[in-house]
Every structure is written in C-alpha cells, then in structure tokens.
C-alpha cells in the first residue's frame, strides 16, 4: 500500500562489549564496560572528559588492546579487526592522522582500491556536498575541512558501521551541519556510534544514548525513554515545607528555599511523582514538571556524580 520500506524489525547487535577493562599504568580508563549498540542505531556515547569514551572506541577499532574483557564488532572479536574487516567500518576521530603531503583528490584515489564497495558516485556526491577542494594539500586545509575530508573518505565505501569520535569539536556551526547531513544520509543503511560533547547537536539525531562515567555506563537507553523519565520539578508552597531526610532515590539535586523546592526527577511518572510529592512534602500551591534537554540531563548526571564522589 505505502511505498515506504520498513527497517527490519529484527534487531541484531552490531557492537557488544563484555566487562571491558582497560588500565593505563595506574589509571583505570575502563572499569567493566558493557556496551550494546543495536543494528540501525545512532548511538550517542556521552560523558564527562576522561570518562573513557575514546578508550572504548579505540578498543573497538583494535587500536588499543583491552586489559580484560572482550569486545565484539560486527560479529567479530575486536582483536581480529584489521584488513578486510575495516572495509565495512568507517572510523573518524577528532585527531585523525591524514597523509598531509598529498592533495585531497590523491588521498581519495589512494584509498579507493582498498575498498571493494567504494562508490565513485557517492564519493563525488560527498565531495560536492562537503565542498572539498580536490586540488589542495591536506596540510593546507583548515581543521573543519580536514574533518570533512576524513568523513568523506570514511563514508564513500558505504560502511555498515560508522564510528565517529568527537567529530564536531572545534568546528563552526556550518561545518557541523554539513557533517551531520552527510552522516544522516548514510544512517538508513548503517549503524552509527558517535561520541560527542555537542549535546544540542546530537539530541535530535540519536536513537540511543549511553552515559559513560569513570569507565562504566551509568545508563544506556533509547532517546525517547530517556527524555520521558527526566523532569525538572519545581514546587511552590504557601508555607515553608518540612523536607524529610529520606527522599526517593530518583530525586536528584534537591534544593529548597523558603517556599520553593526544586529537584530533578529521574524516574518521572506524573501520577506517582505527584503522589510522592504530596505524601512527602504536603499540599503545594503549584507543581511544575519541565522536560529537559539532553544537555540539562547530562549536567544533572555529571553534578550528581560529583556530589556522590
């Protein structure tokens, strides 16, 4: 009836890590990471600096070995990822090493024969869309232009898995938009793992979000579910309420002044949350529940993590 094709419902897992641990001398970068990225997802890996995002990605790409635990990528042990396996993975990182001495066209021409699935038409499309200057040396390109060249070279062979480590950092909004558009055009046929601090950018793109902190996932879930369960709560009372010492574990960062109590509810359910507020704090003049951006959720998690530490 409709001409729309549905994505297959059967979801398999493209990335899975099992209790991944990575120690650098005295620093524990990963502390038992269990990450699962389903097929077709745009999975955003977020977390404070030093949380272990880049380390996790480098283990997945077989750039680092793990201290213990294992990682599976596209059904393979990550330790086997090399040569042929890399032709189905497109990897771009913030500090990508590129052969600086060659021109953009030579760079693309050099890569082509390594990838049986390289698509010349897609390559041309990416070059046009990203406005890549083919006759310039990579060393002469701006940071944004280099990222665009790296992305074009990672997408042109239609990889089944695209891994982007902080692709937007330090780039202007126009370049970000261009990168996002090129990435989204591939999203229907690929699984994407993206680590980023640019939360406003990825908020509308991500299907899943994982919050990494101190080498461990504090949550990993679908974006709509995450957005549903977090609310900023503000309660106004006619008279100062007595705040009991024991509060629900899902209430984060509670603060109160004479007549107002504010907190972040991390397990929001309008009826249950309202009932808890009535039972614990008494009748209020008004209660407001405000949905939160990914950025506010990130800040709440990061600050509460620091409070707990």
């Amino acid at each position: 009836m409709s001409t729309i094709t549905m994505k297959p419902v059967t979801m398999s897992t493209v990335i899975r890590t099992d209790n991944l641990v990575k120690k650098f001398r005295r620093v524990d970068a990963l502390n038992g990471l269990n990450l699962e990225v389903p097929q077709g997802a745009i999975y955003a890996l977020v977390g404070p600096n030093g949380a272990g995002k880049t380390t996790a990605i480098k283990i997945l790409m077989n750039i680092f070995g793990a201290t213990s635990g294992r990682a599976e990528v596209l059904g393979m042990d990550s330790k086997q990822i090399s040569g042929k396996a890399l032709t189905s993975i497109g990897y771009v990182s913030e500090n990508q090493q590129l052969p600086n001495w060659v021109r953009v066209d030579a760079f693309l021409a050099y890569l082509r024969p390594f990838y049986p699935s390289w698509d010349r038409e897609l390559e041309n499309q990416l070059v046009r869309q990203l406005a890549l200057p083919l006759d310039r040396k990579l060393s002469d390109l701006s940071r944004g232009m280099r990222m665009k060249a790296a992305l074009a070279s990672a997408l042109a062979y239609r990889p089944r898995l695209i891994v982007l480590d902080e692709p937007f950092s330090g780039l202007d909004p126009l370049v970000r938009d261009e990168l996002i558009e090129s990435m989204l055009e591939r999203a229907e046929e690929a699984t994407i793992l993206i680590s980023s601090h640019d939360l406003a950018e990825i908020e509308n793109l991500a299907s899943h979000v994982g919050y990494l902190d101190q080498g461990r996932l504090r949550f990993s879930e679908e974006m709509p579910a995450l957005v549903e369960r977090f609310r900023e709560v503000e309660i106004t009372f006619d008279a100062a309420p007595a705040v009991p010492g024991k509060l629900p574990a899902s209430w984060m960062r509670l603060s109160s002044s004479a007549a107002v109590v504010q907190f972040i509810e991390s397990q929001f359910d309008e009826q249950r949350t309202s009932a808890e507020i009535r039972n614990l704090l008494g009748e209020a003049r008004s209660v407001t529940f405000t949905p939160m951006s990914l950025r506010s959720i990130f800040l709440a998690m990061a600050k509460s993590g620091r409070d707990a530490a």
Binding site: S2, T3, M6, N204, L205, A206, P224, T288, T290, P291
Partner: protein, 148 residues
C-alpha cells in the same frame, strides 16, 4: 545529479525534552490546517525530512507513516507523498493544536495565583488588541476563521 535546496514547507521550533516525533507531527498538522501546505502539495520524503530537520531517519519515518495512516498524506505512485484533501478541521481540532501552549499558560497563571476569570479577560484584551481595527469576534463564536 543536481542539488537544489529543498524546502520543508513548515517550521519546527524544536523544544528540548519533548517528543521529537510529536513535535514534527504537530508542526506538519498546523501547516496543513493553516493552509501553508495545500491538498496535492508534495510532502518531503523521509530522507529530506531527516536531513533538513537534522533528525533521526527513524523519527522522520515515524512521522510520515503516522501522517499517512491518519489520512493526512497520500502516496501517489511516481510522485511520492502528497498532502491529502483534508476534512474541514473543527474548532475543537484547531484548539487542540495549541494544547501545549495553553497548558503552559495555565500552569504559569496558577503559579501567579491568577483566577480563571482574570485569565480569560486578559486573553480577551490581547485578542482585541491584536485583532486591529475590525471589531473582531463575530457572534457565531468561531473567531479566527475569516477570509484573508
């Protein structure tokens, strides 16, 4: 292959923390009811919607599927998806599209301790002010439907 700028015929002013899918559906419905998109007008494809609004293709897909199953869009072989001939939206349906805004207004009013009567009176005053010189609000009570 040539590149032209594809225009999404409606605006989505994304508000963080709300369901993306619902926000796009509402924006599209508003545009149809307001006449920004007319029956037979092409509706952007999933890919264009995703790329232009910078949203996940699954979300874009869900939006288009929903609009088709609710009869607001039709698929025409060889053309793609077009806006369907819509039944005249009732006043209730039109009002429903402002549900979010009205709820926010009510919450703020309650916080400030404003009574319902005072709120309605204030809305009436603003209505008059923005209505300009034509002594608006015809007696049939279906304001805002006049010819333009």
């Amino acid at each position: 292959m040539c590149y032209s700028t594809v225009v999404i015929p409606f605006h989505v002013h994304f508000r963080p923390g709300l369901s993306l899918y619902e926000q796009v559906v509402y924006a599209a419905k508003k545009a149809m009811i307001a006449g920004q998109m007319r029956p037979g007008d092409p509706f952007p494809s999933v890919r264009v919607l995703s790329k232009e609004l910078k949203i996940n293709p699954n979300t874009a897909h869900k939006v288009v599927t929903y609009l088709i199953t609710t009869g607001l869009l039709e698929t025409r072989p060889g053309i793609g998806t077009v806006v369907a001939v819509l039944p005249e939206a009732s006043a209730a349906e039109r009002t429903q599209l402002l549900g979010q805004e009205i709820e926010e207004l009510v919450v703020e009013a309650k916080k400030l301790g404003i009574s319902l009567e005072a709120m309605v009176a204030s809305i009436g005053a603003h209505w008059k002010r923005l209505g300009g010189d034509d002594k608006d609000t015809d007696d049939s009570g279906r304001g805002g439907r006049g010819k333009r």
